[in-house]
Structures are given as structure tokens and as C-alpha cells.
């Protein structure tokens, strides 16, 4: 039989847990609901498909949507080969385990640095030193540096899950190292690479501080080539500009709602992709 004191204690702990779960859930639901209620009424086809004009007073976020897409694509095109390549080198080739350890530790630290620091370094290095000025390219390069550790580490971790016995089997057949990696090791860890990339896309979408300094605030409608060389606001930066500098809170919340829907979609697809590959491989 439990003593009264013990019963009260268990009851109290249970209540405390319910309360903390409840508070967390309420906050999340409140946040999502608030953004949607405030934002969705402001989303219109016109907002999504036009560019802003000070003359007609029109507000449209098409340039910002395009800028976001350009930045995401450019960043991924650069960061995937770099990150995956570095991961392959560190896990499969590098002999000096001490240096590998230092690099891994540095990468982990890098991924925890506040993004505004990346922004200011990116501004000094890409915009000033390399002469990119304020442009989507400078912004994308800054995001490359920011996401490189994530892509590298997730790839490394999934390379490590490929059993050594696969490598042994392939080496035993007389395959060279690169062939073993390309045909046996890499196919075994695509899921990790893809998951890392999707997570990176999420981070790129949500990034504003690093882009404020490097990519600028312009809302010009450009193709990808012109866009990369000229300044432009991503959705998050546009949100900041509309809310803080023009007082257009309705527009800001519309953008916020769009960003939240995109983030949800990205997380969903990350989950789907990893589930798909989990089913495909059994080791």
C-alpha cells in the first residue's frame, strides 16, 4: 500500500508534467494560430504575383519569393558538393584521426555560432574583400559557410552507419577505393545526405540576420543571373523590412504564414524521405 505522502508526491509530479506539457502545447498552438489568423487573410494572388511599386503603392512579394528560391538553389549547388566531399574525405580517406577530430569539433562549434556573426564576416569577406557588393551571391555564399558544417556532419554520420563488411566485400573483389565509395558506400547513405540537405533548406529559408548584411533589401524583379549579381531581399528579410521599416504588419504576417507553411512542408518531406530510405535498406 502506498503511503499518503507518496501518493501526494506522485500526484504532484504528474500534475507538474501535465502542466508543462500543456504550457508548451498552448504556446505552439497559439503562435501558429496567431500567425495564420493575422496572415492568411492578407495572402492574395496579387500579393504573390506582383512586385512592389512606390508609385502605385502596390505591395507584392514575387521578387522576394524568387530571391529566396535563387538563394536556396545557389547555396545548395555549392554546399552539397563541398560538404559531401569533405565528409567523404574525412571519413574514408583521412589518416590522421587527431586532425579529423579537431575538424569535426570545429564544425560542430561553427554550427552553433549566431548567424549575425556569419552575416558580418560574410559582409566583410564576400561583399567588401571579394568585391561581390551587396548581392544574392554574397548572401548565398555566406549561407554556404553557415550550412557547410551541417551538411558535412550529417553526411559523415550516415557514412559511418554503412557497415564495414560492405567495404570489405567490395575491396575483396578487387575494387579500388573510389569505386567502393561511389558504388557501395554512397548509395548506402543517400538518405542521410538528403536529410541533411532538407534540413539545410529549412535553415536557409529561415535565415535573416546573415542575409541582412550580405544580400540587401531590394525588391527588384530579376532573372536568376541578374538576380545573383544584384541585391535582393529574401522572404525573411522582406518580412523584417515590411514590419519594421514600413509598418505593414498585415504583409509581414502574410509572409510569416507563408514561411511557416514552407517550413512545415520541408520538415514533412524530410520525414518522408528518411522513412522511404529506411524501408529500402535493412542493415
Amino acid at each position: 500500500m502506498l503511503s499518503k505522502k507518496r501518493k501526494a508526491y506522485i500526484g504532484g509530479m504528474k500534475a507538474a508534467m501535465y502542466i508543462s506539457t500543456g504550457i508548451t502545447a498552448v504556446f505552439v498552438i497559439f503562435l501558429v494560430a496567431y500567425v495564420f489568423i493575422k496572415g492568411i487573410p492578407n495572402i492574395s494572388w496579387e500579393l504573390l504575383s506582383t512586385k512592389p511599386s512606390y508609385i502605385s503603392g502596390n505591395i507584392g512579394i514575387l521578387p522576394d519569393i524568387l530571391n529566396t528560391i535563387y538563394i536556396v538553389l545557389t547555396t545548395l549547388i555549392v554546399v552539397i558538393p563541398l560538404g559531401v566531399g569533405a565528409a567523404i574525405y574525412l571519413t574514408e580517406y583521412a589518416k590522421n584521426k587527431k586532425i579529423v577530430g579537431i575538424i569535426e569539433y570545429a564544425a560542430e562549434t561553427l554550427s552553433g555560432i549566431p548567424s549575425i556573426i556569419y552575416g558580418s564576416v560574410g559582409m566583410l569577406f564576400f561583399c567588401e574583400f571579394l568585391g561581390f557588393r551587396k548581392s544574392l551571391l554574397a548572401g548565398a555564399m555566406t549561407l554556404v559557410i553557415m550550412n557547410l558544417p551541417t551538411v558535412m556532419r550529417t553526411t559523415q554520420e550516415s557514412l559511418k552507419t554503412v557497415p564495414q563488411s560492405y567495404r570489405d566485400g567490395a575491396f575483396g573483389l578487387g575494387a579500388g577505393k573510389w569505386r567502393v565509395i561511389r558504388k557501395v558506400v554512397l548509395p548506402g547513405c543517400v538518405d542521410g545526405v538528403i536529410t541533411g540537405c532538407i534540413l539545410s533548406v529549412g535553415r536557409i529559408l529561415g535565415e535573416s540576420a546573415a542575409l541582412l548584411f550580405t544580400a540587401g533589401f531590394a525588391h527588384a524583379l530579376n532573372g536568376i543571373i541578374d538576380g545573383l549579381s544584384s541585391p535582393g531581399a529574401s522572404l525573411t528579410v522582406a518580412l523584417y523590412v515590411y514590419a519594421k521599416e514600413q509598418g505593414e504588419f498585415g504583409i509581414a504576417f502574410a509572409i510569416a504564414a507563408i514561411l511557416m507553411i514552407l517550413t512545415l512542408l520541408i520538415n514533412l518531406s524530410a520525414a518522408l524521405v528518411s522513412r522511404y530510405f529506411m524501408k529500402k535498406r535493412k542493415f
Binding site: P163, S165, D168, G169, A170, G172, L173, G174, P187, K282
Partner: protein
């Protein structure tokens, strides 16, 4: 019978621990040679020196010589990939690649430059037939190899090794993860294969050595204690330690 491989004064260290001490052995062609001995005696390590699989472990240091067809395989001019093609390996745990049965077998030939579909089809069928598994898998060549049973997977791995047309097949306790019936099938297969290949097999199971091998080598603490015809080694061992081991006094 011609000798195909000879080890001379072979020593091997993992870092500072010596795992093989002055091993000298000659392996005859088209026969089955078994390595027996207690765990940690160096028999698997020695097997892996024969196709330089130990190269993959960075701390390994080797002195001495292993000659194959009259050439020292540790010579710097040797192409390791070509060596491993000629001296294939089957591992303790079946390790098919996570791809289709067909692609598993075709991996080796493709690695060595065979692209023609007709030729690959031919090699795949022949290798699977030689490994006595063709009838079981011919209708599901495109299915993932990981869906097969353990015994089938191991025969698939043997087929995969045969597909690159090796001269020697090294088997590292190939049946230790299998049930008795699968074990029996692999043993029958080994006896069949020795008509065309030289087989070196590491085994924990002394009955297995007696059943299938022509010669047996007994290793203990990194040394080759005794080596000779299987029948003689098991009936009249020369060394006291061999006798103690095969009569089950330790191990």
C-alpha cells in the same frame, strides 16, 4: 600438385602486438587447405595477409614474404586490386551489398571493366550455377539480395567472388553464422569448387576441416605449429600441442 602460394618468415604486428610469428607455409593448387586453432591464434589474420586485406588496417606492419606465382605480393610493383581479383575472399558473416542479386554478382566484373549486357548476363548465370544457387534465385535476380536467407546470402557471396574469375578463394569461417543444413551445402560446394579453384578455409569446426580439407595447418598464439595432410594431422599429430587441441584438451 603444384604449389600456388608460399609464405616465408612472415611476421605481422598490430601496432606493438605481434600476431604472427615467423610463419612458413606452402599451399598446393586445386586443393582445400584448412587453418585451425583457438580464437585469437592468428589464423584469420594470416588468411587476410594472402590477399592483402590487412592493408585496410592502418596499424598493421608486416615483414617477410608471400609469393604467389613466383612473385612477392608485398612488392611495391604489385597491383593490389588485380591481386584481390585473383585471390577472392568470402567472409565470416554473409555480406551481400544492399542491391539486387544480379547487381551483386555483376559488381566485380563491372569493376574490372566488363560493360556488355550479354557478357554480364552470362557471367551472372555461370557464377550462380557454380555456387549452386542458380535454381533458387533465377526467377528473382532483380530482387534485393538482403531478402535472402543467411545460407543463400553466403552462397551468393561465393558466387560474387567467383564472378571475377579468381584462382584462389579465401574463406574466413564461412559457415560459422549458418545453420547445419546451409553449412553442409557450403561444404559440398567447396569440395566441388576445388576442381577448378584453390581454396583456403579458416574454420573453428574441426569436423569441418576433417570433412573437406586436404591439408590442415594448426596455429597457436601466432605460430604455425603443425602443417600436413589432414588425415595424418588428425590421426597422428607430431606436436603435443596439436594433439592436445584436436583431442579437445583446450580451445
Amino acid at each position: 600438385m603444384n604449389d600456388i602460394m608460399t609464405a616465408k618468415n612472415l611476421n605481422l604486428w598490430y601496432d606493438k602486438t605481434q600476431a604472427l610469428k615467423n610463419v612458413n607455409i606452402t599451399i598446393p593448387e586445386k586443393s582445400i587447405t584448412a587453418f585451425i586453432g583457438p580464437s585469437g591464434c592468428g589464423k584469420s589474420t594470416f588468411l587476410k595477409t594472402l590477399n592483402r586485406m590487412n592493408d585496410l588496417i592502418p596499424t598493421v606492419r608486416i615483414t617477410g614474404e608471400i609469393s604467389y606465382n613466383g612473385q612477392n605480393i608485398y612488392d611495391s610493383t604489385v597491383d593490389v586490386n588485380e591481386l584481390r581479383r585473383e585471390i577472392g575472399m568470402v567472409f565470416q558473416k554473409p555480406n551481400p551489398f544492399p542491391m539486387s542479386i544480379y547487381d551483386n554478382i555483376a559488381y566485380g566484373p563491372r569493376t574490372h571493366g566488363i560493360r556488355s549486357k550479354v557478357k554480364l548476363d552470362e557471367i551472372v548465370e555461370q557464377s550462380l550455377r557454380d555456387a549452386a544457387i542458380w535454381d533458387e534465385v533465377k526467377d528473382r535476380l532483380k530482387k534485393n539480395a538482403l531478402g535472402m536467407s543467411g545460407g543463400q546470402q553466403q552462397r551468393l557471396c561465393i558466387a560474387r567472388a567467383l564472378a571475377v574469375k579468381p584462382k584462389i578463394l579465401l574463406m574466413d569461417e564461412p559457415t560459422s553464422a549458418l545453420d547445419p543444413i546451409s553449412t553442409l551445402r557450403i561444404e559440398e560446394l567447396a569440395i566441388e569448387l576445388k576442381k577448378s579453384y584453390t581454396i583456403v578455409i579458416v574454420t573453428h569446426n574441426m569436423q569441418q576441416a576433417v570433412r573437406i580439407s586436404d591439408n590442415t595447418a594448426f596455429f597457436l598464439m601466432g605460430e604455425l605449429i603443425e602443417y600436413g595432410e589432414t588425415e595424418k594431422l588428425f590421426s597422428q599429430p607430431e606436436d603435443k600441442r596439436t594433439e592436445d587441441y584436436i583431442t579437445g584438451r583446450f580451445g
